[in-house]
Structures are given as C-alpha cells and as structure tokens.
Symmetry: C2
Subunit: 197 residues, 2 copies
DNA sequence: TTGCTAATCGGACTACCAGTCCGTATCTTA
DNA sequence: TAAGATACGGACTGGTAGTCCGATTAGCAA
C-alpha cells in the first residue's frame, strides 16, 4: 500500500530539517531527535515511526546523498565506473570516497560515531564498498589477501581520522588525499603488473 | 599531600572491580559506572572523584595494563626496544600492539568506543604510539610522509576492525597478525638489505 | 588517648536523551 | 459522506553519566 500523503510530506520535512541540522551543528552528536522533530515541525512519534531510530534516520540521509556516487560507480564513466583496470579503479574509488566523506563530514561523523553496537563496519555502505574492493583486489593480490586488504584501504577513510588530520595545521584536503593515494599505491604494489604474490 | 589511606584503598578496589567487570562482560559498553561502584563496594561519588569520568577510569585501567609493553618499548630488548633498524622495529611494534589489543580486547573496546568527543586518536597511548612511529618512519619514508604513514599503520589496530575480522569464520588471530604484517610491509616498501630473515 | 580539621564517603538527586504508548486527528476509498 | 485504516504528537518511561552535600573518618598534634 502506498504511503499516505501526510506521511510522505512529513518524511520529506524530516529529511530536510535533519539535513540542515546535522550539517550546521558544530558537533553533530549533540543534535538530538527532539531537535530534529521540532525543526521539522513534527511530533517525536512521527519521527521514530518513519525512521525506526537515530541510526535509521542518519542512514537514510546518508543514502540520499551518496546515491550519485553509487550510480557513478555502478555504471558511470571511467575512472569510477566498470571497465577500468583494477588498480586504477581502486585508487579512484578510494579518492572519491575520501572526497565524499570530507564533503559530508558532519553527517558522516554523526553516522560513523552513532552506531555503537553494530559499528559502521556492518553498515550497508561499508559492506558494499568492501565487497567491491575485495572483488577488484582479487585480481591484484589474490583471493587470500583481498578481504583484509580491502579493510585496510577502507580504514583510511574513517571520518575521525580524516578530520583529526585536517585539524592539524599543515594538512590541506588536497595534501591528505595525495598522501592517501601514495600509501594506497604502496599497498597495491608497484604499478607494473606483477602476477600474484 | 599524600593520598589518604582510605582513598588509596578505594582506588585499588575500584580498579580491581572494574578490571573484572569489563573483562567479563560480553558487551563492555553495557557496564555502567553504577555497576563498577557497586562491585567495588564504594559510593558513586567516590568513583567519580577518583577518576573524573568514565573515560578516565578506562584510561587508568588501560594504562596499568599497557605498562609492561611500554617499558619493553622504551628500554627493552630487541625487537621492541631501541637499537633495532626502523623497519624491523616498526613491524614488531605493530604486531605487539595488535597482540596486546586482542589480549585485552574487551577493555580496549570499551576504551576506544567510549571517548566520543576526544576520540581515542587524542588519547595518551595513541599519541605516544604515533610519535614513536613517526620518528621511526622519518628514516624510512622521509619527514613529509612519516606522520600520515604512522596514522595509516595505526589504523590497522583499531579494535572494532580487529574484532570484526575475527568474527568472520576463516580468520584466526595468527592469520590476522600475519596479514597485517604483510600489508604493513608493503607500505614500508621493500626491505633494503638481504632477502629472508 | 583525645580532639580537631580537612579530606573523603555515599547515595539521593539532576539533567538529558532515545525510544514507546495511546487517545485523537486525518486520509483514503467505496 | 461514512467507516476503517493509517498517521499524528507529545506526555511518559527507562536508563545512565555526572553532581551535591550532610555524615563520616583518617591523620595529626597536644
């Protein structure tokens, strides 16, 4: 059955209000569900009925924002899309993820630090990224090492680490991205194709 | 002025009780400060006066446990102690840290997931490890890249990542440690001197 | 031993927040 | 337009970190 008109309207109002709140707040962890409900002009019950819990709301917000990137990866043009040599594609994907998280840093922080129990290592977006990375890595490092190497690369994109680095004086986003690329390139091995290891 | 006898006694009682509680609990995040106070046979006020807050208690516990490792690093024998070539020492240190965190996994989990505001990236033990790693890396990768590379290596030791991997069927602690060593070796670049060891 | 003072004790109390509940209001469809 | 299904909202619950302050006790001097 379709969602009732008022329900759909409220869903949008909540997403819009939450989007602004989390982006604006200095500390997104301090944005409460009451804040969101109030800003959306909606009761608390409505908020929870729509999104289940805090993590659900954050994931929904994150999903709408990351959709463009996901599309670009699934069937976009190079270097993110399919049909690119694994090594290049992995580096491009990693860079795109870093960029995305920095562009959405407050929301990302809220998301990665909210889910305590099922850490963000279990979240749909992480699982998806890990599956894709593992697949691409299988060609480069062999099946054995692919899974762990994928985790290793993804661990560079944790928002607390990224933000911590940017808080240090000499780091700019550009320099950070470049260094991540360098280290990642080291993990992937020399550019020349070497069969297995 | 020295700490009063009853205060010192209570500090020990609290540390002992908390140690047991955090190690025993399935989910150390569910151990409350009330639990600790009750188990130690002490009032809540006493607990907070001694350790400031939850993070302070956890850090104090962690510090007592890690002290042996710290001593081994500062002036112990090879391969952890000083006087070892940077590359070897870094790999040994990394492995020791992984091992330590796994041996103390519940406490480590409580610690790394408790400090929300000042994430564990600001904790004394992380800062110490990062400083040491950066120093050793300066010889290997140059000053420029040392700081970031240190973060990259340390990101492999996050307890949620380690535990997540161990939860997957095929991973044993030994295999995990070996894979971490392999990837870390890749980051550090090929060994300069003779092959094999 | 006795008495004095400052440090310490303990548990009731506050503040805060995620998530629930249920009587009321609104939408949908026939 | 009326009935039933769905959604609304905000008062309420439960649970936790951290505070407060009157009662207690250690440490010390006489």
């Amino acid at each position: 059955m379709r969602e009732r008109a008022d329900a759909a309207r409220n869903r949008q109002a909540i997403l819009a209000a939450a989007s602004t709140l989390f982006d604006t707040a200095d500390d997104p962890l301090k944005v409460t569900m009451d804040d969101v409900a109030a800003a959306a002009g909606v009761g608390k019950g409505t908020l929870f009925r729509r999104f289940g819990d805090r993590a659900g709301l954050l994931q929904a917000l994150f999903d709408t924002r990351i959709d463009g990137l996901r599309a670009a990866i699934v069937d976009g043009p190079p270097p993110l899309g399919p049909g690119v040599p694994p090594r290049e594609r992995l580096l491009a994907l990693l860079d795109a993820m870093v960029q995305f998280k920095l562009d959405n840093r407050r929301l990302t922080r809220a998301l990665e630090q909210t889910s305590e129990r099922a850490s963000f290592l279990e979240s749909p977006s992480y699982l998806l990224a890990h599956a894709l990375f593992t697949d691409l890595l299988t060609d480069l490092t062999g099946r054995e090492r692919a899974a762990w190497t994928a985790h290793a690369l993804l661990s560079f994109t944790r928002i607390d680490l990224l933000e911590r680095l940017l808080a240090d004086q000499p780091w700019t986003p550009e320099r950070l991205r470049q260094e991540i690329q360098d280290v990642a390139a080291g993990i992937l091995g020399p550019a020349q194709d070497q069969a297995g290891r």
